[in-house]
Each structure stands twice: as C-alpha cells, then as structure tokens.
C-alpha cells in the first residue's frame, strides 16, 4: 500500500502543474468559484441600482452564502419531467450544456505561459468551434420541453444565433489578421504595445453586440424573455436541472468575456505590480474581466430588450457591413505596415 | 352644431310615435326613450347626427312593472353631449336588437348584460360568457329576484 501512495505522490509531483490547472485554476474550482461570485455580483449590483438591497442575511458579509443556500435548495428539489417527450434527452441536455463553455475557458491564457491547453497553436479556432454547439443545444432544451412557450423560445434561439454569430466571426477575423496568428497566446503577445480595441474599434463594436447575443444578455436576451414567455426555453426545467442550466449560462458568460479580454483588451498585458509576471498577468486578466462584467450589468439596467426581427435586421443590415468594412481597413493597414517594414 | 330642440324636432318628424320621451335633465345630458321595435333605426339616425362614441350599455330591472329598461350611453364629440338611449322590453321575453353594427364599442357591454341579466341581444356576434365562472348555472345575478344571501349552507 505504501508503494501505491508513493507512486501517487510521485505522479502528482511530476504533473503538479497540470493537475493544479485542472483542479484549481483555471479549472474546476475556479469555475465554481466564479459561478458563486458572478451570481452574487449580479444580484447585489443590480439590486443596488434598482434601489433594493439584494441578498443580505445569509453570510454576514453582504449575503454571499445566499448563493450556496439557493444551490442546496435547488439540488434537493424534485425532478419534474414533462410527460410526452424524450426523457433521456431532457436529462442529458443540462448535463452537456455546462461542459461546453467550461471547455472554452480552458483555452484562455491567463498569464504569460499560464494556459491549460494551448491546442497546438489553434486555440481561437477550437474556441469558436465549441461555441457553435452551444446555441444548438439550447434550442434543443426548448424543443424537448414540449411546451408552447419553450418552442417559441427555441425559435428565438435560432434567430439569435443567425443574427449574432456571423458578424461576430467576421469581426474576429479582423483581430486574427492584425495579430497574424490563431494562437490565443500569440494574440495576447501582439497586444503588448497597444490593445487591439484601438485599431479595431469598428470590429470591437460588432464584437460587443455579437457577444451580448451569444451570452444572451440585454438587449439580446429574448430566448428567455420573461415578459411574454414565462421563462422561455428554461420554463419546464426545475430543481437540479435548472441549476445546471443556470451554470451553463454563467460559464458561457465567463468564456466569452474572457475571449473579449484576450482579443481586444490586451489579455494579461499590464504593468508588473505583483513582482511575479505570471501572477501579475493573472491579476490583470481577472481585473479586466470584472470590468467587462460590470459594463454588461449596467447595460442590463439601462436598456430594453430588442424584438427578434429587429435584432436580426440589425445583425444583417448593419453589423455585417460594419464588420466587412473593418476587415477591409485592417487588411489595408496591415499591407501598408508591411510595406514600410 | 345643432341644438337639442332641432334634434328633437328631427327625431319626432322622422319617427313620430316611436319616440316616447325626450328629456334634457341638465346641461350636457339628453335622455331619449324610444320604442323597442325601431331602436336600431333611431340609433343609426342618431349616429349620423354626430353621436359617435359609445360609452356604456346596460339594463335596469323593474320586476314590479314586469319590464327591463335597456339603455345605451353615447357621447357626441361634435356637440359635447351625453345621450342615454332607453327602451323598455318585456321581462319574460327579454329580446332586443343589438346595436353592435351601429357602434362597435358596445359589444362587450351587451355581452355582459346578456350574461348578468339574461337579455338576449339579437344579432350580436359573440354572446359568450364574460365575467362569470364557466360552470355558473344559478341564474342571472343582476336581476332583482336573485338574492345574495342564500348561499345555501
């Protein structure tokens, strides 16, 4: 028996780096910690803006234990499944959904040299490939619930996907051309002098609106439109399955926000204030992430929701041409810069 | 702008005996009582003379005289007058022409009166229950012989 524990310890020591990354940061513990933080932050921040208090009691400091209490409550509820539907799919979807954005998070570089999986230099492509599965599964949750409201929500998920994804990808191509690589680490390194948000300002506008669409945030959050659709695609899910769907939503938000930080806001670039460049890089990534989250929450308070046809019209009539103009300008700039070099 | 005297004259000239009563109780109010058989023609005539916005419609139950007094209330945007058009119908055979084709807005009021008082409006497009629960079978609540107390215990 000692031999086996010995082997285990040697295994962990040899691969400490990878195991730390998978288990603690930016792996499982980080994602769960982020979930608790993000839900708490959203509830508290929105509450203050709405002249309310938000969670106060559970957990003496600003009610952060409320989230754990809510999670426990949700887990211990009954599984209610609609009758005339594929039960296996109904259970499978909330289990699949949080995994995909989590897989997107592992591709992000948090600090110089600190990345969980670099995908052989093609991190961006893998990220986008994974992200296209998410809306399809979302739509399936609406279909499998066998409910008029969720079906309408499922239609809207498709509309949203059509409206938001194509301009998004076009704007990302602009960044790729500027950086010259699909490698996320390479893209961050290319921003060490100037964040891409400045030369790619048009692309950033398109990316931001597409990002709001992919993460289903106001003004593009119509699949879960409480006003007309009770709760949209998630109506029939309750208890633990609902908890999983909510987690999927927030992890998706995390993944896309990190992508925005990496592509446009300079990733882990920033002055070295913690002594160690890796720790500073991680600090800057998280700091910029927090700013992005706050801006999205402020937009949530300040604006109404678009109607589906208005969003699709905006995506195709305005965003795609804008992204194409951005591409053309980027190619021109790159060409001119190359000539001068 | 037509004064009410002119309106009365025109009405009486056209409909004669059908117009039973024409009263101006106070400023801006006009009460016309007509015969039940010609109520629709009088309504069209009144609409052509500027009474265009329907405000209300209903009925009053007079069990002692064995009649229902059905009324419609119309406002005129041109004359700034409120007109109450009344007619009497028989209590045991409660039927009257519906004025939906004259003023669309009375549709729901007539539906409610049908449901609560049991007056049949002929020609109404949709006499379906509106206010009462779906399994209501205890009579017409607004009639005077429907008493509120005996919720039989």
């Amino acid at each position: 028996m000692y031999l086996q524990i010995d082997e285990l310890i040697r295994f962990v020591e040899a691969n400490f780096d990878i195991i730390f990354k998978i288990a603690i940061f930016p792996g499982i513990a980080f994602i769960f910690g982020f979930l608790i933080f993000a839900v708490w932050y959203e509830r508290k921040f929105l509450a203050r803006l709405m002249v309310r208090m938000g969670p106060v009691h559970a957990g003496k400091v600003m009610g952060w234990l409320q989230l754990i209490a809510d999670a426990i409550k949700l887990i211990t509820k009954e599984f209610i499944v609609p009758r005339f539907t594929l039960r296996s799919l109904f259970f499978l979807l909330p289990i699949l959904l949080p995994v995909i954005p989590a897989a997107m998070v592992v591709l992000i570089p948090f600090g110089p040299g600190f990345i969980l999986y670099n995908a052989m230099g093609n991190g961006l492509i893998l990220f986008l490939a994974l992200s296209t599965i998410y809306p399809v599964l979302n739509m399936l949750t609406g279909w499998v619930s066998n409910n008029k409201f969720t079906i309408i929500g499922a239609f809207r998920t498709i509309y949203l996907d059509v409206a938001a994804e194509i301009p998004l990808i076009l704007s990302i191509i602009g960044v790729v051309i500027m950086a010259g690589t699909y490698d996320l680490v390479g893209i961050v390194e290319a921003q060490s002098n100037m964040w891409f948000i400045i030369p790619q300002i048009l692309g950033f506008i398109v990316f931001f609106i597409g990002y709001l669409g992919m993460t289903e945030r106001v003004p593009m959050d119509f699949p879960v439109a409480e006003v007309e659709l009770v709760f949209g695609i998630k109506t029939e899910y309750s208890g633990p399955l609902y908890l999983l769907l909510m987690e999927a939503d927030y992890v998706n938000w995390l993944a896309w926000s990190l992508l925005m930080v990496v592509l446009y806001l300079g990733g882990y670039n920033g002055p070295n204030i913690l002594g160690n460049p890796v720790y500073s890089g991680i600090f800057w990534t998280l700091f910029k992430l927090l700013i992005v989250l706050t801006i999205v929450l402020i937009i949530k308070i300040g604006y109404a929701r678009l109607r589906v046809d208005q969003a699709v019209r905006m995506g195709w009539k305005y965003l795609i041409p804008l992204a194409v103009i951005n591409l053309v300008l980027t190619i021109l700039i790159k060409y001119i810069l190359n000539i001068y070099q | 702008m037509m004064s009410m005297k002119e309106l009365e004259k025109k009405l009486r000239d056209r409909f004669g005996e059908g117009v039973i009563d024409f009263a101006i109780p106070r400023k801006n109010r006009l009460i016309i009582k007509v015969d039940a058989s010609i109520v629709k023609e009088i309504a069209m005539f009144i609409k052509e003379n500027g009474f265009d916005m329907p405000i209300s419609a209903g009925a009053t139950d007079y069990p002692k005289d064995k009649r229902f007094e059905v009324f419609w209330v119309i406002w005129s945007s041109i004359h700034n007058l409120v007109l109450i058009l009344k007619t009497d119908i028989d209590r045991d055979n409660a039927e009257i022409d519906s004025l939906v084709e004259v003023w669309r807005g009375v549709q729901k009021f007539e539906r409610e009166t049908w449901e609560l008082m049991g007056i049949n409006y002929k020609g109404h497009p949709k006499l379906k229950p509106l206010l009462l629960p779906e399994d209501w079978d205890e009579g017409y609540p607004l009639r005077k012989d429907f008493s509120l107390s005996p919720y039989k215990v």
Binding site: K148 | S56, D135, E138
Partner: protein, 375 residues
C-alpha cells in the same frame, strides 16, 4: 357546482398555436390573453376577463349610500378616489346640491395626487413589459412614497381613503400639509425629469414602442377607447374639461394629446399628464378658499336617475345611478375605463401586423387593470 361548460374552441390551421398568456404568468395580471400565433406573427387576440368579478353593482344595491363608498374603493386599488368621486357626483346630482367650495378644492387635490400615484405605477409596468429589467418599475414605485405619505397625513390611509362623501369631504387639511406638499412636488418634478431623460428618450425603448399598436383616430372613437389611450390617438377629450366637476372649472390646465396613436404616444401622454397634475395641485393649494367642508344630506335620495362621469387615471368612468326614493340605490351601472380599453387590443391584429413580442407592450400601454374591468 355542476360540470364546467366545455368551451367551443375553433380548430386552428396547421402550424398555428393558441398560446394563453394566462392567469399564471409573470406579466398578465388577473386575466388571460389568448394569442393565436405561429411563433412570431399574431393572427388573433382574445382577452378573457372575469377572474376577479365581485359583483360590486349588486353589492351597492344593498348598501345605503354612505356605506356604498367602501366597496367601491376596492374596485381599483391604485386610484380609488376618482371612483368614489363619480358615485358621489351622481348622488349630488340626484339630490340637486353642490358641495361647498373648499371641499371641491380638497377633492381636486386628492384626485390629482391619485392620478400621479396611478400613472407612475402604470408606467413602471409598461416599461417592464417592454422588456426592461424591473429597474424602472422599482424606481417609480419608490418615488410614489411622498404622495402616499401626504395622503396618509390627510386621510389616514394609503390607498383606500373613504374620504370623499356625499356632501363634501370628511376632514380638513392638517397643519403642515401645504409645505409638505410643495416639497413633494418639487422632488417629484426632478424625478420626472430623470425618467424622461433616461427612459422616454431612450433609443431602445423607442425602438420597441414606436409604431407598435397604432390605433387610428376613427377606430379609437368607434371602439370607445378612454383616457390616455384615446388622447394619444388625437381625440381631444378630457372629462375634466368637457364635463367639469370638483374645482376643475376654476383651474387652468391643458389637455395633452398626441397624434401618432402608438404605444410610445400613450406612454408619453401619461408622463406629460403627470407634469400637468403637479401644476394643478400647486394651483389648488395656493387658491383654496376658506369655508365649510361638508354639508349634511338627508339619507333618502329623491327618486330619479343620474349619469356622472369622472376622469380616472385610466380614462373616464361613468356611473348611472337610478334611485326610487329609498336610502339605497335601485340600480348602479358602472362603466369602468379599463373595460373599454382592454378590448382595444382585440381589433389590432386585423388592421396591422403584430409580432408576439409586441403583445405585452401594446397591452400595457393601454394601462389595463383587470380589477377595474371586472368590478
């Protein structure tokens, strides 16, 4: 009791479904909106009311006049005083008397404060239906507090005042009321400016509500719309001007209309009406005459009939009171404003193309109050 009647529902074409934004829904209130749709386009809307029908007309036939004021307040909880004012007005017409001038001014103050309270709540709901977050709704609900406190200072209750009685009002203005009222008005004016800035002039809000649910002028008259929904379609009609009561004849204010008739116009008319209400309260407080506040009336009303109208926040309410000489009314017929407004949405799919997401927006722009419609 008995078996439920089976509703005859017509068969729908393939691909259409009948969605019931029903009584159990985050935004529907106590009523049902049945929408026939294929997912995005709306083909037919039907409103189902009656979930909170209490039979107030029948109850009033069994109460003496002064006692009848209390169940009437429960008809609509937001602005209760215009409804009691309508009943009292009909009674005073039957008796043939007028309340003393000081009472008329106090009535005006209460009515206008009620209008502000109701409009802020309705506008908050409207913003929420245009798919806002509850932010605006919570702000407006919080900002009503100064007026609710003022009314509590005056009448002792926050929403069911039972204050306007046949013959006058029940009590006089307390000391310190005028100063507190002026402060509240100043505070509210600033808040209204904030709302107009951040929300009425908001691009996304306009995108959701402009040209949505346009009710043309002739249709509004033909279908009997009332209140801001009528005025937003270009019809200049306000009971306070066309059939004055309380102290409105002596006060100076204008009727707010708008010509576009869409949901944005209906919301805009309400906001401007709130500015006008603040002016009216200020004028009334400054010009209030001295004198008695109530005259006593005999318990039995003379026989006759009377039709009285009062402008509530939602529109005009009409009451037809028939008296046969006793101390209880023989028949009271109430035509509430919401009963006329709610059904306007049923005619819209026939005249314009609606989307499913527009249905709550239009519905809440009409300021529906199911309790009002049901009585």
């Amino acid at each position: 009791m008995g078996i439920a009647r089976v509703e005859e529902v017509e068969e729908l074409k393939d691909g259409l479904m009948r969605v019931s934004i029903g009584p159990q829904h985050p935004i529907s209130g106590q009523g049902r909106i049945l929408v026939v749709t294929d997912g995005e386009t709306v083909y037919d809307i039907e409103i189902d009311i009656g979930y909170s029908h209490r039979g107030i007309e029948k109850i009033l036939e069994n109460r003496i006049y002064i006692h009848g004021i209390v169940p009437l307040e429960r008809m609509v909880m937001l602005d209760t005083s215009p409804i009691t004012m309508c009943y009292v007005r009909a009674l005073e017409e039957l008796y043939g008397v007028e309340a003393p001038p000081r009472a008329q001014y106090i009535r005006t103050i209460i009515l206008e404060m009620n209008r502000i309270i109701s409009h802020t709540y309705a506008l908050g709901l409207f913003a929420e239906s245009a798919a806002w977050n509850p932010a605006i709704f919570l702000w407006t609900t919080a900002d009503r507090e100064p007026f609710l406190d003022l009314l509590e200072m005056l009448t002792g209750a926050r929403w069911s005042y039972s204050f306007i009685v046949p013959g006058g009002v029940r009590a006089d203005l307390p000391q310190g009321f005028k100063e507190a009222a002026f402060e509240a008005i100043k505070f509210f004016r600033e808040r209204l400016d904030v709302y107009v800035d951040s929300w009425i002039d908001n691009y996304l809000f306009e995108v959701r509500t402009r040209n949505v649910g346009v009710i043309p002028r002739d249709k509004a008259i033909e279908w009997g719309a009332a209140g801001p929904s009528l005025r937003a379609s270009g019809v200049e009609y306000d009971t306070r001007k066309h059939d004055p009561y309380a102290a409105y004849e002596e006060l100076d204010f204008k009727i707010i209309t708008d010509t576009s008739g869409d949901s944005y116009a209906r919301g805009g008319v309400r906001v401007k009406e709130m500015y006008v209400s603040l002016d009216i309260i200020e004028q009334a407080l400054e010009n209030i005459p001295d004198g008695p506040i109530k005259r006593s009336l005999p318990q039995r009303a003379p026989p006759g009939e009377a039709y009285a109208r009062v402008e509530t926040a939602r529109g005009e309410i009409g009451m037809y009171v028939v008296s046969d000489g006793k101390d209880k009314p023989y028949r009271v017929k109430i035509s509430p404003a919401s009963f006329r407004n709610i059904f306007l949405i049923e005619m819209l799919p026939k005249i314009e193309e609606l989307r499913f997401a527009d249905v709550p927006v239009i519905f809440y722009s009409l300021d529906p109050w199911f309790l009002d419609a049901d009585r």
